[in-house]
Subunit: 74 residues, 2 copies
Amino acid sequence: MTTPAHRIAFGDQLRRLRQEHGWASQEAFAHHAGLDRTYISLIERGRRNPTLDVIVRLAHALEVQPADLLTTLE
Amino acid sequence: MTTPAHRIAFGDQLRRLRQEHGWASQEAFAHHAGLDRTYISLIERGRRNPTLDVIVRLAHALEVQPADLLTTLE
């Protein structure tokens, strides 16, 4: 099953914002967001289908707007 | 359990965009989006936690950008 483009785009955007906002380490960011590091890694590789609640949790942890995580999706 | 504010905001935004884009009927929109009408109704009332795949499907059905469905979320 090919990975949907929007999951890849979301994962790339999460990684980009995480790094831009000073979270070089997935581990530290996962702890800060209250999520599992493996889950963050899988989302960033487009291999998970996060819910709205997770998207908002990630946005709050990054101190960005939830919509910012979807700006690269078409 | 109180309904998270972001689910209510998402539901309101979906209803607003659906109506603005000429889909007065949830039934017709649900059919167009390939989703169940009851599910659309529950999302619009903030009682469901849609995944990224569903958010993108809704956006495509409305012919808007996925981020447009989250602009009112904080």
